[in-house]
Symmetry: C5
Subunit: 326 residues, 5 copies
């Protein structure tokens, strides 16, 4: 589900972002509490072994091990790698949102209008089924689409009669063009400029569907994602040893740090949080809290389409003078 | 309110940005003086306790605590995280401004023209009501919109008769299309190209309204915001202990630093200032000094629309030869 | 004035950027020599006091003060803050240039054409008067615009008869539309496609004017600018004390550094230079060397408009076979 | 082949990116295992020589050598240089994908339609042959294109009769325009608006082909690529000496590090991984796992074009009431 | 000349970027070998003086000087400043390429067509003459343009009769419009939609020419370029002293480093290489290896224009069934 919080940060003086820290849904805590608990368990285990189970020479060895791991932490410039990666993914994420089509434009006689809007919605569902797990779960087969009323049985047959190994989400757009051409010939659509707007809108929606499919097909290069993930997780693992509070360094030792490495936890929270931001954004069509609610959108588009076609146009208010008219 | 200062920095030699440092409205100081005062109070309290209330061994313990916190400050790469975050938010912020519709284009016979412009303004108010606290406060109910003359009573009825669970800011656009189609049929609008411009402008305004609504619905991922906020605030808190002037380090100690940590204050000013920049920009439709003045814009659009329709077109100067015409 | 140097760096092997270091107009040196001289005077004064006027214990105190300031210099990540800020401002700067309208497209009968081009230029001057100090100085009142021949007296009356509290730079665009509509009715403009191009160009120019006005109204958030300015200037001030050549540190002391801190000067040159880049770019309509030469542009547009309308079209070469025609 | 993994990271809570670490195709490991093995062999050889073959004074010399190399590693800010470079290349990469034309729009009578679509596909193949090794391998000569049925023999003759030293991928677009003009004259294409859409789509495809060719012609400046490559490889080479576990530094020595420098391997993995990301992205038309599958695209476009023209339009479902129609 | 190497890096596994390191044309080495040789000569001279000519106390003084310079090297964050600068310049560079017009679209009767294409090419040459040294060298006077057949003598007279102090590259566009209007009146151009495409293409080319001219007029602010250049060159100069291998620091001294500071050379190679990247990109219309080959483009556009008009359209293959037609 989409987590909208823009409304709550309307004013930056009265609380502002601080209030956001207490949210759970879609929050940093919800996303990485698992990793944090695992980290703590591992950390405490290692700490206990080091303090209880090892003899003195083993402890000395462990200490050199810890210092060795610590050097590694300084070797990875995690903040930059993550910074550049998240920025690039964030762009891709918003572009994917913008690529979602909004079919509630409208034109002409009722049956044609309904059909046109239906084809638009159908094309959108077909492409979303192939890229989104959530939409696929809602419409596992095309029969489910027929049931929902967005496709008729005859259209399904027509659709299935096309044998090809390629994704065919664009077939309703061909029907659409045929329908439009027929309207033109039979003069049901009188004016050419109106038709041009319909055509233009439709081409726009079609190219958006194709862009959505492209984002799915052409993933962001795996290597980059692996580099970033591996860097973050080795950092996480190295912390388990490297951040142990050593018995030999008396100066800045704090008892609390023996079993609850508070600042290491915070640091991991930030780094893994950033990685989670990227994970959420890289596929915005899944099940994450932040993912676009495609099923909601499908409902909205379907219902609003019918609303526009059936109710609103038969209910348009008459033109009248407004109160400032003199 | 929008804080415009571009005019004052016209020349970079004579004063330039320096003058901007003295502004209060929308300034760094106004935004974070609360946090700074809180910081100073906490800092002085801790300092007094450390110096007065603790015995020597407790002081030694506190000192190791301070050094411990100090190490943390070096662990968070705050400047990068903030740099990447603010840059991304700044883009979103300007895109949101650009998405605000400007309906003062114009066309055709007076009553139709007024109605068209009214519908444009109405659609804008409807969408702004759902995303801006300030506009919502001005028009708490649709009756207030009717009172302001932007909607007639009959239109309100028509509007309310549409039962749906979705946001319906786009309904006036359907009326608009119906009105336009009627004009076409009844030949009140003679020329098709003119109509196409009206239609195109209107589709553009409509898609801008829908983009505004999208920016509100799809917030920037909460996790990123939380990471940045948490990093800044833990930095702020850690400073209270870590930046205490320790009794043991004689060398670079300055008395002034005991109770007024001047440079820490400055550093926090920069980091929290950047966070505030992001807070202001993330929702530009609220009450902050920097937020877009939507109510002013609504007034402007309404009044200018009527001005254009009623006064200017009845007052157009006759065509005449200019003074260089030979 | 605009400083164009692109031509001089045509080749990167023969001198390249090195030659640019010797320029004065619009140069780093011209922009910040004042700050540098001030810095040197302050630095030398402090140095003299430290060496001559202070007794030994005071010198020791000063030394701890200097070390204290020095620590601060390391606390501000100036290069990043400036890097992100300048990059964002540079984008805004170029977008503002691109938003400047270029009205030298042309169409149809001479008087109408002149009037259309005049209205275009007039609209541009009206919006520039409200955002640029330089243009405001050239046309302090609307009577000056009339004098320049871009507005007729009758048009000024018409313009002044519109009473509103809002910026009215867009009024000529209404006249323009009226004029065009009249042409259409009276058949002076025969072909609709031609008219559509005129209309489209004009809408484009109008929306550019409105964008220019928006850039002026919606300044880049003051807080960000203040953070960056404050960071740079406190760095500058802290340098005066922190970079003093201390008597106690014998090792790397150089006599030259006592009164002329060469590398500190260079470092400040870079940081303050970057700040100046941002200052110049944030308002490109002012008096800086790098600012867009709006008055030149106005002259150019006016003269070129008349040239096109009056001379060129009456002088078009006849169509003839080129030399390769066989 | 394109490696699509977007579907697998639909949810960021259940596994998320971690699962991606196990992939082989298109993975970090597949790309740089060669470099890693080479590194280990060299590293172990040097280590063995240092420990076994050198006498003590030679060992001392080697140690100073190692420290000397180590200083170098700190001198190159590899993470930034790579960060900026990869970000810029990633933009170019996606723009190249977006520039690939998708010709499955359609219009009008069957033979004309087929020919038009054939010309579109032909133009695309001609431009891809000149920029992609993979497509060149598939169609080594134009005769192969004729064989595949995308070009007729007569068209090939026509094509070959044009003698010029420039790339002529755009010739089918001239034929296309001629064909369209003929259709217009002979009234096979009745309506002008339909023709305008065909023309617009075609101009769009043509300019995309020309953009593709431009990306190939205007490579990203070689110097930048060389700087980045050289920096990474010298880092790699310097590591072989610098990261040797010296006999003299007892403190943090670990036996495992003598012959298997685990963290150095990881660090190289990240840096060289980022370089490989750039290498893959800089030419997305080659043979890499991440490269766009152009031959697949050509197949798809050809087959889908014929599908649309021949099957779908003769099979369009009749318009009928949907189940919600009341 | 443009250096295209995209084809050679088609596969990232087999050699990849490594092969690029051996290129000379347009390479890092070719661009900065001069600076490197100068550096080495200076470095060796200073080294010899230090070792041979100075007495011991002078040597001690020199050593403190070297340490002093060394501190400076750490003060400049060169990698960031260069990173941000090069990224911004790289964007500008590609935008300039995209702004180059490609006039090989075509329409209508032969003489008119030739003239239209000639005017397009002429306008492009006129604007390129004023921004590119290379094109200016090829066409030093307008008579050279006449000789090349792109302008007729009568057109030159017409062109010269326009007296103005402004750049007049846009005059052919006025002739073009006049020619088009005449065609319309005399019905040589029958269909309005065709004319609209011609007009639209032409307006597009004209605005590209104007954008090119703008990039030349509005250089990237000189201050930024100076800051970056100065920072790089002072770094270069400081290295000559700072990186001397001091006699006193025995530990990590290597004899090879006395006269050939290998890693300093490499570091300078990277930093100066990045500066060269920016130098090449800032004016892509010059003589550098990476600069756009404008004279080649002019040849191509002229020849291809005539090819299209004269040969191809008289040679269009007849429409026929393709081999898959059933």
């Amino acid at each position: 589900m989409t987590v909208s919080y823009q409304y709550e940060v309307a004013s930056s003086t009265s609380g502002g972002f601080t209030r956001l820290l207490l949210k759970w849904k879609g929050s940093l805590y919800k996303l990485i509490y698992r990793e944090m608990i695992a980290f703590l368990l591992l950390f405490i285990t290692v700490s206990l072994i080091y303090r209880m189970a090892l003899n003195e020479s083993q402890q000395r060895y462990f200490e050199s091990l810890a210092r060795f791991f610590d050097r590694y932490l300084e070797m990875i410039p995690l903040s930059f790698v993550l910074g550049f990666y998240v920025t690039t993914i964030a762009n891709r994420w918003w572009q994917q949102y913008v690529a979602l089509p909004w079919p509630d434009k409208d034109e002409e006689s009722r049956l044609i209008r309904r059909t046109l809007l239906r084809y638009t919605n159908l094309m959108m569902i077909l492409v979303l089924r192939s890229i989104s797990l959530a939409v696929k779960r809602r419409f596992p087969t095309l029969e489910h689409v027929v049931e929902s009323g967005i496709m008729t049985k005859r259209e399904l047959e027509s659709f299935k009669s096309i044998q090809t190994e390629f994704n065919t989400y664009w077939i309703p757009s061909c029907w659409f063009v045929d329908l439009l051409r027929e309207c033109r010939t039979t003069k049901k659509l009188i004016d050419p400029p109106g038709m041009r707007f319909v055509m233009q809108e439709f081409l726009d929606i079609r190219s958006k569907c194709s862009l959505l499919w492209s984002y799915d097909w052409i993933s962001f290069p795996l290597v980059y994602t692996q580099v970033v993930t591996l860097a973050t997780y080795t950092f996480y693992l190295a912390c388990i040893v490297a951040r142990q509070n050593l018995l030999v360094s008396e100066d800045d030792r704090l008892a609390v740090d023996d079993y609850f490495p508070i600042f290491t936890i915070l640091q991991l929270l930030f780094y893994m949080g950033l990685l989670k931001v990227a994970e959420q954004m890289i596929n915005p069509f899944g099940d994450d809290d932040e993912d676009f609610e495609l099923n909601f959108l499908i409902d909205r588009h379907t219902k609003v389409s019918y609303l526009v076609v059936d109710q609103i146009h038969q209910n348009s208010p008459l033109i009248e003078k407004d109160i400032h008219f003199d």
